[in-house]
């Protein structure tokens, strides 16, 4: 049975409140409720409130986090690298939706009751603050064997592909593995150990329809299982949140079609 609430050790308590410094322009101050967890402390996770003068930061949510770390609380932990939507490191839940903080404009955030919540990617083990453990997620990606599998002898130059076959990879190869989609998926929440999740399945489809790949049958065999593929119930959260605008739900639908087509 699906667990709808957090387990005992994960209940979130009220934490600190960091008011904006005196003299801040009140109209520019927005309140961010940020999930905090310190593995070295004996206490569980908490919500800290930060009142931030957003005229002091850049336009993106990541800028706010960096501002908080630099100016308010240097212990705040989060992953970030490229700051331009290509590395996928800063994926987190912002304002109730998974996204990458670096491409999410603060002006886009609605908030709830004047407070914008920021928490780690949902239903994951938290290492610290906004940093979740993605080991299982990466293992699922690796299990998809995300590389060309061939049996024919290697050509002298490159494996050739017609432009129209190459076009089929558009909307698939762009995945940056930020895990926004998989950790948005209720099926992945309840069965993340057995269901592969949208990111891994999009990756699987990227190789299934690659005209150069010669392991289509084996790849489909590996997905033929009540959980791995078929736990997708087309809830669509993956497609709703993908910060790159990709459509994992459609890719999964296409895999289901391939399964059916090879049976009839």
């Amino acid at each position: 049975m699906a667990q709808l609430t957090l387990p005992k050790n994960s209940k979130i308590t009220k934490g600190k409140h960091w008011p904006a410094p005196a003299g801040s322009d009140v109209a520019q101050v927005r309140t961010f409720r940020i999930y905090r967890y310190d593995p070295d402390a004996d206490t569980g996770p908490r919500w800290d409130l930060f009142d931030v003068d957003i005229s002091k930061c850049g336009p993106m949510t990541l800028h706010v986090l960096i501002y908080i770390k630099d100016e308010i609380d240097p212990t705040l932990s989060f992953r970030r690298s490229c700051r331009e939507g290509i590395c996928g490191s800063c994926a987190m839940n912002v304002d109730g939706r998974n996204t990458i903080a670096c491409t999410k404009g603060v002006d886009e955030l609605k908030g709830s009751g004047g407070v914008i919540s920021i928490s780690p990617l949902p239903h994951m083990a938290v290492i610290k603050d906004l940093v979740p453990d993605l080991s299982d997620f990466y293992a699922q990606h690796a299990a998809m064997e995300p590389f060309l599998r061939t049996t024919t002898p290697e050509p002298q130059k490159e494996w050739r592909q017609a432009p129209e076959d190459r076009d089929k990879l558009d909307g698939l190869y762009e995945c940056i593995m930020c895990a926004s989609c998989s950790t948005a998926c209720p099926s992945y929440w309840w069965n993340g150990d057995k269901y592969l999740g949208p990111a891994a399945l999009l990756q699987a489809y990227r190789w299934l329809i690659d005209s150069r790949d010669e392991a289509t049958g084996e790849r489909l065999d590996a997905l033929e299982d009540p959980f791995r593929l078929y736990r997708c119930h087309t809830i669509m959260n993956c497609t709703q949140v993908c910060p790159k605008g990709l459509n994992p739900a459609k890719a999964i639908g296409e895999i289901k079609k391939m399964m059916l087509e090879r049976m009839v």
Partner: protein, 140 residues
């Protein structure tokens, strides 16, 4: 992960922080309406039993179904039927590879909810109209 969290580290919040999408609403409603239909089929069997048991028992059943709580149950049953039927078409289209685009899925979500409600109200309006039009029929 569904049963028991053995990790010493906390699990990050999920249901408590998520801002719902309309496609998520229709997904959960599909499941809920499916459960209502399963329960409703038991009701149909009970009605058939009453029919087979004789006039007195049948009258009693019809009295029960004709009461306000009975009508409320039947209304929910018919609403669940229309919703499940219409949303089922979305699943058929998805299985054929259509309707996965975000905007399309959002629009069809709203469409099936509005249409299910409209068809249910239409069915009940038609039912009441027939009852009015043929007053000779015995009211149960």
């Amino acid at each position: 992960m569904s049963s028991g969290w053995n990790d010493p580290r906390p699990m990050s919040p999920f249901t408590s922080i998520w801002r719902w999408h309309v496609t998520m609403v229709t997904s959960i409603l599909h499941r809920a309406s499916g459960m209502v239909l399963a329960a409703g089929s038991v009701l149909i069997v009970a009605w058939l039993f009453a029919l087979a048991a004789g006039e007195k028992q049948y009258d009693k059943m019809m009295e029960l179904l004709g009461s306000w709580p009975g009508k409320a149950v039947l209304f929910a049953f018919s609403l669940a039927l229309f919703f499940h039927l219409l949303n089922g078409v979305r699943y058929l289209l998805w299985d054929s590879g259509y309707g996965f685009e975000k905007e399309t899925a959002n629009r069809t979500s709203w469409l099936v909810m509005v249409m299910a409600l409209a068809l249910t109200l239409g069915l009940w309006a038609a039912g009441y109209w027939m009852f009015e039009a043929f007053p000779g029929q015995k009211s149960h």
